[in-house]
């Protein structure tokens, strides 16, 4: 595996919901300005894993975390970490497009208005964010229309724009194409290719072909453990672990 500068360093990360352990001693480095895909069957802990990175896991009442997640060498679980700042640095996009019930413009600005220390100038934020997700030309004439009037694929790109408006360093994406048709999926995948140069992206996906197409590194999770983590080219052509091989070739006996 080629050596890359780590943006995130995960060490012995464990997570629980009540008594049920979801993650078991996960350790690996997420390289900066690359796309890292997390694959694995349902219930393997991949969504919990990315929710631990921006400390969303602890929002559930009986959830618990142990171990370390370092962002640029600093533990995100340190008691001095301001959650608002952390989640500004680590943005998140979910499976189902979840635009707020407001205009397209206000959706892009929503996160900024909540976290900005000084008044936000719309023009400086809206256009670049929408251009980043290749949505500007499609919506420039209807920025005041409600976001729900957009197609589902456009709504998902709007949600990505909303996350990008905060200028995060890391973007966590949980099945971002899970509810999109193939054309909208292709647009988001194309977008990921552009975003890779500016952000560190962690992509959770059920779609192995998508992981193979867009990611640089891939981790295979099974039963809450990281079975294998390697260059994506290696994982999908010659994985080192039999369990990875069986999963990606569709043998779940």
């Amino acid at each position: 595996m080629t050596t890359l500068v780590p943006k995130l360093r995960v060490e012995d990360l464990c997570a629980w919901y009540g008594e049920r352990q979801i993650l078991d001693r996960i350790s690996f480095d997420v390289p900066a300005q690359r796309i890292t895909a997390i694959i694995g069957p349902s219930g393997c802990g991949k969504s919990t894993f990315i929710r631990c990175i921006n400390r969303m896991h602890e929002l559930v009442s009986d959830a618990r975390v142990q171990g370390q997640v370092q962002l640029d060498g600093e533990d995100v679980y340190d008691r001095h970490v301001a959650l608002e700042q952390l989640r500004r640095r680590i943005g998140m996009v979910f499976q189902k497009a979840n635009p707020f019930p407001m205009s397209i413009r206000d959706n892009v600005l929503a996160g900024l208005r909540l976290t900005a220390e000084s008044p936000v100038r719309d023009d400086e934020a809206v256009e670049p964010a929408l251009r980043s997700v290749a949505l500007w030309d499609e919506v420039r004439d209807r920025l005041n229309h409600r976001a729900e009037t957009l197609s589902v694929g456009q709504q998902q790109r709007l949600c990505i724009a909303r996350a990008l408006a905060l200028q995060p360093e890391v973007l966590l994406m949980d099945e971002p194409c899970g509810s999109l048709d193939p054309i909208a999926t292709a647009r988001v995948e194309d977008l990921l290719g552009d975003l890779r140069e500016r952000f560190t992206i962690v992509l959770v996906t059920h779609n192995m072909q998508q992981a193979a197409r867009v990611s640089d590194r891939t981790g295979f999770f099974l039963g809450g453990q990281l079975v294998e983590f390697d260059d994506t080219d290696v994982i999908f052509t010659q994985p080192g672990d039999r369990r990875t091989e069986d999963y990606i070739t569709g043998k779940f006996g």
Binding site: M208, Q209, E245, G250, G253
Partner: protein
């Protein structure tokens, strides 16, 4: 256990239709290889025994090989399009597409030999004494390469690759000997060139068998053993 030839143990594919498609490719490949082996042996026999009818039978059998090549290519393309295979499945499918090319080329070379056998039916020229042995060596290489494929046997595949040296030695000896005869009996030059061509085609069959063995190693180990110099290894002697 997977019956596709892609894995030695463990569960089969959860999608049984996919498992069946891989099984079909494997079966078609084995049948094609069987035809090719059969053609090599009978081509040598037709040449040595001056049996024009047998040579024409072998030429006819080539149609079966050509049909199998098209069938296997279509099956593999369909699998690539529909299933987007990964890892060992991907290696198996791409390997099958390459194997059919080498097998088809071997069959074409057997046809070339048979065409010469037909030309030489009424000739007085004596086919070189080592041609039958060379023919057996090549037939054996194809047979062993296919066995290595069936059993995922890397050691056997390596033996096939080593065996190519034996076939090359046959070729060099036969070539030198024929060169002497061409000088001694220039009137028979035309026929000696035919015999030399036969030796050359057998030598080429050995090379294609080596390709088959290298593909088997790639399928099992995921390691490309072709062209060692590209990977910093020593050039072949």
């Amino acid at each position: 256990m997977s019956d596709s030839g892609t894995t030695p143990a463990g569960p089969g594919h959860t999608d049984r239709a996919f498992e069946q498609e891989l099984h079909t490719v494997r079966g078609a490949l084995l049948r094609m290889a069987g035809h090719v082996e059969h053609m090599i042996g009978r081509a040598g026999q037709a040449l040595v025994q001056r049996d024009g009818a047998l040579a024409r039978d072998v030429i006819e059998e080539d149609q079966e090989v050509n049909r199998a090549e098209v069938e296997i290519d279509e099956l593999c393309l369909r699998i690539l399009a529909k299933r987007q295979p990964m890892a060992s499945d991907l290696r198996f499918v791409t390997l099958a597409m390459k194997m059919v090319t080498d097998l088809e080329r071997i069959a074409d070379l057997a046809v070339n030999i048979c065409e010469r056998a037909v030309d030489l039916v009424d000739s007085k020229v004596v086919v070189h004494a080592e041609i039958p042995a060379m023919c057996s060596a090549v037939e054996n290489m194809v047979h062993q390469a296919i066995e290595a494929f069936v059993n995922r046997d890397v050691a056997k595949a390596r033996a096939v690759i080593d065996g190519d040296d034996v076939v090359d030695d046959y070729y060099h000896r036969i070539f030198e000997d024929l060169l002497g005869r061409m000088h001694a009996e220039p009137a028979q030059l035309h026929q000696w060139i035919h015999v030399q061509s036969v030796a050359k085609w057998l030598e080429r069959m050995g090379d294609h068998s080596t390709n088959l063995a290298e593909l088997v190693i790639f399928m099992v180990e995921g390691r490309d053993v072709r062209h060692p110099r590209l990977h910093g290894g020593k050039p072949p002697s």
